[in-house]
């Protein structure tokens, strides 16, 4: 019943909005010339195992008997229009008169082949095809019982009322049936229902419920924008976001009337095209009083109905357009299946109805309103990577509906991608492609996205798998852009700015419910980004109070609350990605990282990687920048396209890896780790040097493990190999070289990070103290006159031949001497005691 029949249908009668049938199935009945069978009647007939009446609903006048043969189809259950009173009682509307007369013909015929009106689709064929499909479809040949037989049995057991049918299965089994179903859903679904009814009543004759087929997962899903008049009356699948749900509308399905005179109850009267024919006279032979019938509300049957508005998802909207919307009509079970804000995929039948300007007007407004009769609704949210806890992979529950979001093709595609030798490089390139350079930083961020394996020892101790990264750098080095990008990509990211975050805002706070007076715990950003990445911009500008809250989060990954009668420990298994500006906005190379960013070393050491993004005075870089900007202004922007993986794929890739890949350390890799770590530690001991520099701490080895696990994950490898460890070392070293390098010696010094003072600095200070002591011993008498500080500084500078010494250094040295009781400092003068 293509487009040519639909307008007829629309004008035939069901033009007022309230005549939509409750269920999609009944809807199918509203196709032209379809007699409306009472639902209850249908039901009751199904209750009896007798096959004959069960077919009655379906043998619609749609089916036109053809004079040609083929009526010998031995359908045991006799697909013929039944002569049940209801079918006869509801003849199709007058404009479909020829149809109904044909239906009458059908009645006379024994078992003619019936065709869907206006097409050459044989009802019997479709019926047989559906039966075959339901009986014999198997997902793999080993299964003894067909997939749908199993499901039907299950549905009967749980007394469900719908059977979800995967359209992909239909397509695989019988693509002709699939094509027919999509093209003529009203008719095919009606047949589907009949077949189901029939099967169910065979399996369990006492099963009273009416099972409806709900088709989902069509081969192709349409974009809302591309719906056009040719889709009317076809099955479509759409993705979108629910923006509004109407309240639930009880729709009358059957009305019962009572005679006010004699109290006689009429038979249930079924809604026909949105209208109930109120009996004008009492049905009782003895009474027959006129206009005495009144509606008995509590004996009527109602069904739920809801109108939902679906809007295009933002990514489908072309530039400069506004989102399109479409109305959905939900019935029964689907009512309240989605809430506003949900992203859903909807399968349904696209329908149109005419708008009548008014009863009195002669001019018909030639406009149609469209809506979708919803068959199936699935919640989706594909825009972000799927979160999955690497620590608590629940074997039982892991195969939930999440798996449907990544279909097999996609997984294959991802696996194919992972096999590429340069996948690591390609992913790096694809990460924030518009930010150029900073490859090592991007690699670090990539590791953060993939994450390491969290470990929980039986003793209760746990090791985090999340990698924390701090970016420190000059303004205008696109740190914030990187942050924004990661936030967009991360599974459950929260983006906050340090300046605007308070301690409770980050962790959790206790609030009083204004209505009940109960205290409730409200989660803050870190808790909300559990198993995600919490991006904190302007980390340096955060209040100390707020920052101190991070200590616990970043190592123990919990937030403990003890206030207002609530003592709780909340999970905050989040990776922290923070970025900070150096003090005085520009990085001072003469100072250490600690001095530059002014963060407590305790916090700093919790970052696995600290990157310094510096704006170096490099002519090459400047030239590249200049070129870039000149090109930006004067050239076509499209020649800079690179071979990058698009965001969607990247997200899918990362979420798949996070979910399915749990790499283990290989022996080889473990060995390499140990070796590398020892070497790193050893690097601090310079031969012949008394100073001891710590170049690595146990925290580093944990970081290294996490990084190498993440690197293995990037390759979809279940085993951490030697090369991963090597790369992890490289990444760590690059980061450390930038941040932990002691600028006075040029070596890596973990003391810088852990205590804030480098070993060489400490040495220098000690030297200064002893030199000062010597000078004072030489020049000053015990209890003699005091010396001015500046004189002392002059002397000091002379002795240390040219090394730069500041007054503050001298003050520090004198302070330590005075604690020894060697000197007394009074303002600007020094006195030996």
């Amino acid at each position: 019943m293509a487009s040519d029949s639909s307008p007829a249908n629309i004008h035939g009668g069901p033009s007022s909005p309230d005549d939509w049938a409750t269920s999609p199935i009944s809807n199918t009945v509203s196709s032209p010339g379809d007699p409306r069978r009472p639902k209850r009647g249908r039901r009751s007939s199904y209750a009896t195992p007798s096959p004959l009446p069960s077919d009655a609903r379906f043998a619609t006048p749609d089916a036109t008997p053809t004079p040609s043969g083929g009526n010998s189809r031995p359908r045991g259950r006799g697909r013929r229009p039944s002569g049940t009173p209801t079918a006869a009682a509801t003849p199709s509307s007058t404009d479909d008169a020829p149809m109904s007369s044909e239906a009458g013909d059908g009645d006379d015929d024994e078992a003619p082949p019936m065709y869907v009106w206006g097409t050459n689709i044989s009802v019997q064929d479709v019926n047989a095809a559906i039966l075959r499909f339901l009986r014999h479809f198997r997902e793999n040949p080993q299964q003894i019982e067909g997939k749908y037989m199993r499901i039907i049995n299950h549905v009967i057991e749980v007394e469900g009322d719908s059977l979800d049918v995967d359209a992909h299965d239909v397509f695989d089994y019988d693509n002709d049936l699939y094509a027919k179903m999509v093209r003529y859903p009203l008719e095919v679904l009606a047949i589907f229902d009949i077949v189901l009814m029939d099967m169910v009543s065979r399996i369990n004759p006492l099963f009273e419920k009416h099972i409806q087929a709900r088709i989902f997962n069509l081969k192709s899903s349409t974009s809302m924008r591309n719906l056009n008049p040719s889709d009317v009356e076809k099955m479509v699948s759409l993705k979108g976001m629910i923006i509004r749900c109407s309240s639930i509308i009880p729709e009358i399905r059957e009305a019962v009337f009572r005679c006010l005179v004699c109290g006689y109850y009429s038979d249930p009267i079924v809604v026909d095209r949105g209208r109930i024919d109120e009996p004008t006279t009492c049905g009782k032979q003895e009474c027959l009083s006129k206009n005495s019938m009144t509606l008995v509300h509590n004996r009527c049957r109602f069904a739920d109905k809801q109108v939902v508005r679906l809007q295009e998802t933002p990514d489908e909207i072309p530039e400069g357009g506004t989102p399109h919307t479409v109305s959905l009509l939900m019935h029964d079970k689907l009512v309240d299946a989605g809430k506003p804000g949900d992203r859903v995929e909807v399968t349904g039948i696209y329908r149109a109805m005419s708008v009548r300007v008014g009863q009195t007007q002669r001019t018909v407004k030639s406009i149609f309103k469209t809506y979708i009769d919803c068959l199936h609704l699935k919640n989706t949210d594909k825009s972000r990577m799927h979160v999955e806890d690497p620590m608590e992979t629940d074997n039982g529950a892991s195969r939930n509906d999440n798996e449907s979001t990544l279909d097999e093709d996609k997984v294959e595609q991802l696996k194919e991608l992972s096999k590429q030798p340069d996948i690591y490089e390609r992913l790096t390139q694809s990460l924030a492609p518009n930010i150029w350079e900073l490859d090592d930083v991007k690699k670090g961020l990539l590791c953060q996205l993939f994450g390491g394996n969290a470990l929980k020892l039986p003793s209760g101790a746990s090791f985090r798998g999340d990698i924390n990264i701090l970016l420190v750098g000059d303004p205008g080095t696109s740190k914030s852009q990187l942050l924004q990008y990661i936030h967009k990509l991360s599974p459950r990211g929260i983006y906050t700015s340090g300046r605007g975050s308070s301690a409770v805002g980050l962790t959790a706070y206790v609030a009083k419910d204004p209505e009940t007076g109960e205290t409730v715990l409200e989660s803050g950003a870190l808790v909300l980004s559990d198993r995600g990445i919490c991006c904190i911009d302007e980390f340096d500008k955060m209040s100390d109070n707020a920052r101190s809250m991070l200590h616990e989060v970043m190592e123990q990954q919990t937030v403990s609350i003890a206030k207002a009668g609530i003592i709780a420990s909340l999970n905050a298994r989040t990776s922290v990605l923070a970025c900070a500006n150096p003090i005085g906005s520009r990085y001072n190379p003469r100072l250490s990282v600690i001095d530059n960013i002014h963060l407590p070393p305790t916090l700093l050491s919790r970052f696995d990687l600290i990157y310094l993004i510096l704006d170096k005075a490099d002519e090459q870089m400047d030239r590249r920048l200049a070129k870039h900007i000149v090109a930006l202004h004067f050239e076509d922007p499209d020649n800079s396209e690179q071979d990058v993986i698009d965001l969607q794929t990247l997200t899918a890739y990362i979420s798949y890896a996070r979910k399915h890949i749990h790499p283990q350390l290989s022996d080889e890799a473990a060995e390499e780790l140990t070796r590398g770590y020892v070497e790193m530690r050893r690097r601090g001991n310079f031969p012949g040097s008394s100073k001891k520099v710590i170049t690595a701490t146990p925290r580093q080895i944990e970081s290294l493990i996490r990084l190498s696990e993440a690197l293995a994950r990037i390759r979809f490898s279940q085993l951490v190999e030697k090369r991963d460890v090597a790369e992890a070392f490289r990444l760590l070293e690059v980061a450390m070289q930038q941040s932990a390098t002691d600028h006075s010696t040029g070596t890596i010094d973990m003391d810088l990070i852990t205590t804030g003072v480098s070993a060489s600095e400490r040495m220098r200070r000690e030297n200064l103290v002893s030199t000062t002591r010597n000078i004072i011993m030489e020049k000053m008498q015990l209890g003699g006159p005091s010396t001015r500080l500046l004189e002392l500084l002059e002397e000091l500078k002379k002795q240390s031949n040219g090394a730069e010494i500041h007054l503050s250094d001298l003050r520090n040295a004198l302070a330590s001497l005075s604690t020894e009781g060697f000197v007394v400092v009074h303002g600007d003068s020094v006195k030996r005691v």
Binding site: P7, A8, H11, G12, P17, D18, N228, P229, S230, V232, M241, I243, R244, S246, S247, I249, K305, V307, R309, Q311, P314, I317, E319, G320, G321, T322, P323, H324, T325, S327, G341, S354, V357, G358, Q359, T360, R362, T363, V364, K365, S366, I367, F368, K369, N434, P475, G476, D615, A617, E619, D622, R623, L625, A626, I629, V630, L632, H633, F634, P637
Partner: protein
């Protein structure tokens, strides 16, 4: 138009019908036509453009709506404020044995038999409003080309005709005889209409405003929204906030009442809520036949000046002089202002809007803002077609809705202050900003403004998500000190030395300046390889000398370089202009340092 059996102007539907019948007769099958054009658009295009019919088509606005006949051809200029999706209608149907069409019409003229064969076609609905911030000279300039029937038609007669027509429309197609009787009318009017002064028209417009527009919710100064129905166009043609001129068939029926007896909730939910709040009684409908996008130059009137370098230089110098006078004899500021007025976003790369040049004039105080602020405002209004002013106060920020917001209840996009057409000039006056607390609305508004400054994008609020829409708005900020809320590309302390109270400008001069700004703005621009090299070297050298220079500064210089050469009417950056920019920047830097 001799020999044509129909009148495109007065009976466009007749023309549509005729071409349709012709097309059907010549063998095209309506069943397969699928709403595509069958030659009607071609006919109108020929009439409008080749036969110069466009100038005869009345412009639809607040004043003309009173006398424009339904089912005639009108023009409407407006900005697409909201897109209301697609509408399905019975495109073609069989009346007996004849195929008829409903294209370009709201209702079918002959009763459609329910059983008759019909085809559903599709059209787009656009909600258009007059361009926000449009200045009065733009309006008057198209009033002048237009042909008003007005004065001779007395109100009584108009009224009678309206009634006539309403009933006519109800019964059947406008009779051909009626057409004949009607068509000479406009011609006659046209002649004496030419003498009408723009001033008088505006008066009419104002009056019209009072009488009918009180019904329309967002009735502004002269706002007449219009629901435009678009046929045969690809989606990418028409974008939100674009300014278009639509020529189409006008249907508007203030006496029309919608019979709404079935007022239950379901009907409300279904009968596009959008259309319920835009009843045909309040918002006229326009079935668009031809549409074209309007650019800056389309709003100008009068003869186009010739594009000789000499003329350009002259005009530029005069305009610069004018701006200098406006800015209290501050020539540096005037130079910057000129560049600012010529700026537009010419490319978007990633999130960067290339070509924008927002200007922050500082050092205003209470006294100077009242003088220069007003001068500036007046100057902008005189020079640019669309200007808006935004007084920034805490109260204002806390209450106004800057970004457009989708109202899901009515399914409409509620316009915000920042829903502006491309090329609008926005002056933000920060001088009256006092200390105070911003509430959440205020914070959001401040963020939206900042985002607009940074990337020329406005976030539209769709409740469940935000959608960024590209904007191209010239932003001028007036403040006491450097504005931190709205970081502009350029910060320049104003140094006025005198106040010129009489800024008399003659009309011819203004026209030339408008023409200059509109034309120069749209010039293409490029760079020669050797110049590119030189610029790059210069940038590198500058950065070597001053580490604090960043990509933003470079970007700004290049934008200014481009605008500088454009202001001379040149399409290629030359060393001379580049040096001028560097010199200007040097002066600005000096001023900034001197100001500290």
């Amino acid at each position: 138009m001799v020999g044509l059996p129909y009148d495109c102007l007065a009976n466009p539907l007749g023309a549509v019908r005729l071409t349709f019948e012709k097309a059907v007769a010549s063998g095209s099958d309506p069943a397969t036509l699928d709403g595509k054009d069958w030659g009607a658009a071609e006919l109108f295009r020929q009439f409008l453009f080749d036969d110069d019919g466009l100038s005869q088509v009345p412009m639809l606005n607040q004043s003309t709506i009173k006398w424009v006949q339904p089912n005639t051809l009108v023009r409407f200029r407006g900005m697409i404020q909201d897109m209301l999706g697609n509408e399905y209608y019975v495109g073609a149907y069989k009346d007996g044995n004849m195929w008829r069409t409903n294209k370009f019409a709201d209702t079918s003229r002959s009763p459609m038999d329910a059983s008759s064969d019909m085809r559903i076609w599709e059209r787009r609905l656009l909600y258009c409003v007059p361009i926000p911030g449009q200045n009065s000279w733009v309006e008057s300039s198209h009033e002048a080309v237009r042909n008003p029937y007005t004065n001779s038609i007395s109100p009584q007669r108009e009224k009678r005709q309206r009634e006539d027509d309403a009933t006519m429309a109800d019964v059947d197609m406008v009779e051909p005889g009626h057409d004949l009787e009607d068509s000479p009318n406009p011609k006659k009017m046209r002649e004496d209409g030419m003498a009408l002064e723009p001033l008088g028209l505006q008066k009419i417009a104002a009056e019209g405003n009072l009488s009918t527009l009180s019904l329309v919710p967002d009735a502004e100064r002269n706002s007449l929204p219009c629901l435009v129905k678009i046929y045969d166009s690809t989606e990418s043609d028409l974008k939100l906030n674009d300014v278009f001129e639509f020529v189409g068939i006008f249907t508007f029926d203030p006496d029309f009442t919608v019979d709404r007896d079935d007022n239950d909730e379901l009907a409300d939910n279904f009968c596009e809520d959008t259309l319920v709040c835009l009843p045909p009684t309040k918002v006229p409908r326009l079935h668009c036949v031809v549409h074209r996008k309007l650019a800056g130059a389309d709003f100008l009137s009068g003869p186009q000046l010739e594009l000789t370098p000499c003329v350009i230089k002259e005009v530029r110098e005069a305009l610069l002089g004018h701006l200098t006078a406006v800015l209290g004899n501050d020539r540096v500021a005037a130079q910057y202002m000129l560049l600012h007025l010529l700026s537009r976003v010419h490319a978007r790369i990633d999130s960067i809007a290339v070509g924008k040049l927002s200007l922050n004039l500082t050092c205003f105080n209470k006294e100077s803002i009242s003088v220069f602020g007003n001068h500036l405002k007046l100057a902008m209004e005189n020079l640019l077609p669309f200007t808006q002013c935004l007084p920034l106060t805490v109260d204002y920020l806390n209450t106004v809705s800057l970004a457009p917001k989708k109202d899901y209840h009515t399914n409409r996009l509620e316009s915000g202050v920042l829903q502006l057409a491309e090329g609008t000039h926005l002056t933000i006056d920060e001088t009256s900003l006092q200390t105070g607390t911003l509430n959440s609305v205020g914070c959001e508004n401040a963020r939206v403004l900042k985002n607009m400054m940074d990337s020329q994008k406005v976030e539209y609020d769709f409740t469940y998500y935000k959608m960024e829409m590209a904007a191209d708005v010239q932003l001028l900020i007036l403040s006491e000190g450097k504005s931190n809320i709205l970081p502009a590309d350029l910060v320049l302390p104003l140094r006025p030395s005198s106040v010129d109270s009489a800024l008399g400008v003659d009309g011819e001069m203004l026209k030339a300046w408008r023409w200059y700004l509109a034309t120069m703005k749209s010039l293409p621009h490029s760079i020669e390889p050797h110049m590119q090299k030189a610029v790059e070297d210069d940038l590198v050298a500058a950065r070597q000398a001053d580490r604090s220079l960043g990509s933003q500064d470079f970007s700004r210089w290049l934008t200014m370089g481009r605008l500088m050469s454009v202001s001379f009417g040149e399409t290629c950056l030359s060393m001379e202009h580049w040096q001028m920019v560097r010199e200007l920047e040097r002066l600005r830097k000096e001023r900034l340092l001197g100001n500290m």
